[in-house]
Symmetry: C2
């Protein structure tokens, strides 16, 4: 038997057939064209799924369920609200069932990625885990007792909008001092630009050829790896900011494991070692076993595999 996972994005809809080992056996995609009526978007989603089934040579009878990861607030099969798709109260699951007679589940895309880590990735074998995605913002998903926890109204696990400095930087959400203002790739890039501006001798300046637009997370981290003083200062602050949020999650959830994913994780052990060192130094209950910090493992497959695991 198979499960189908659909990763509904603002630009593309990706779908895959997932086998019992949690591996994608075939996948495909189609443009979302999100400005269309939602019925058309979901009709294309149905066509994509049926095409994949035909291509792989199986039918709906071979499929246990379909899961969809969608941006925004998702609850009871509805996309309650999504900025990216410009959807409100869209009956996503019911609509898709018009095209294929299989149980359909939906959840938020960051939650779905956490489920992927929990069932098949870095958090496999642990009952309680949090997956943190350090990207443009900070996304998160929470798994409690092996089940995804998305809150009562479908807007939980917005861990990037946990305020860690209530008199800090204004966030895109309207709040102040949200974690993602300090721990996301965007925050690292912002500080990298400021560092380059105040220190033209910095390797950040060299690597970015003095062009603010060429300052990426990788540039700052590469300069820090090479021991550049300004970059190291920025990196050390950045690591501290990540750890403030991680320790908050530990004090709140006390999970078995926290998995870190997202673009910044490409920095590899250089980042992970620094985060772990700072975390162990600052954790509250040092003498009691506490959450391990690991990297997420599912990468690009997280969206499809996690969606497929919804139930």
């Amino acid at each position: 038997m198979y499960r189908i996972g659909i990763d509904l994005g603002g630009t593309n809809i990706a779908a895959g057939i997932v086998n019992e080992e949690g591996k994608i056996v075939i996948q495909g995609s189609t443009p979302t064209l999100a400005t269309r009526p939602f019925e058309e978007v979901i009709a294309d989603m149905g066509k994509l799924v049926n095409d994949l089934l035909a291509k792989y040579g199986i039918t709906a009878d071979d499929v246990i369920s379909i899961g969809i990861g969608s941006p925004g607030a998702v609850l009871n099969g509805y996309v309650i609200f999504s900025n990216n798709l410009n959807w409100k109260h869209v009956p996503l699951c019911d609509e898709l069932r018009k095209y294929i007679d299989v149980p359909v589940y939906a959840d938020n895309d960051a939650n779905v990625a956490a489920l992927a880590e929990s069932t098949c990735g870095a958090c496999k074998g642990y009952k309680n885990s949090v997956t943190v995605t350090l990207g443009t913002g900070i996304g998160g998903g929470i798994v409690i007792n092996d089940k995804l926890y998305g809150g009562s109204h479908g807007v939980g696990a917005e861990i990037g909008h946990m305020a860690i400095k209530f008199d800090g930087i204004r966030c895109t959400c309207g709040g102040i001092g949200c974690w993602e203002r300090y721990g996301s790739a965007t925050a690292l890039i912002r500080e990298g630009k400021l560092g380059m501006a105040r220190d033209s001798q910095s390797m950040i300046y060299t690597l970015a050829q003095g062009d603010e637009n060429k300052v990426t997370a990788k540039v700052v981290i590469d300069a820090a790896k090479a021991g550049d003083k300004t970059a190291c200062e920025i990196f050390d602050e950045y690591v501290k900011n990540i750890v403030v949020g991680l320790i908050n999650l530990v004090n709140i959830f006390d999970p078995d494991v926290i998995a870190i994913g997202g673009g910044v994780a490409a920095a590899g052990d250089f980042l992970l070692d620094a985060v772990r060192e700072c975390y162990e130094e600052n954790i509250f209950y040092k003498d009691i076993p506490h959450a391990k910090i690991v990297f997420a493992e599912m990468g690009n497959d997280a969206g499809i595999v996690g969606a497929a695991m919804l139930s």
Copy 2:
């Protein structure tokens, strides 16, 4: 049938027999004398329970279970660690079963209070709730899908130690800028003292007779209620600080309801109205239903009733 709840404190052990409606039908207490070997403390706990049963005229056969709320980290029937009791890895449940042959459960005291609100109090009828206790510190308990969530190692729900200002005030836990440094009664008193020191015209000064030791949460709140400018400024800041943490909890848990308890709640609607107004102004997803903010209802019964509800 009945359940027994035990509230194990650093000073006293309180126990009660709770009926099927969640009401305490008889209760009693005995000094903890926590410096003794734990076996003696738990022997007295057993005696207290058996005395209550005899006094009420029932036997162990009439009792479904015993629950114990203990300070510190509690996991799988053990008190892993408690500063208040100076206990480490104490097999609390097994030890108590030597005195009465009934299933025994244990959890952290703040968690147990949240369970009381969830089963019999302000959060009754809601699947997901957080109970926040604003006292000397900020305690918390989390109920998810009608079950207490205490974390993987028994140290979850330490919501008072969620950093809300990472460059803020050093906390007793060793962390920096913990919520309880800003939202507890202790924080309000600290600011009240500072307010009195800088404004001897303030009503805080009058009510406390210029004596720093007489500045209580009630003094500051009474002065604010009367419209005193300095007190109002302090109160408004304090409300904002409470709300920063509440909104973090909403962004993380998206619960049905958050119940506020603890000494500060005695301020009544004056506090609750101010908190709600600030909360509604600052909540992220304004258009989507979100957690109600209410006062906790169980008061002094929370410890016994919540413990009795453990399973």
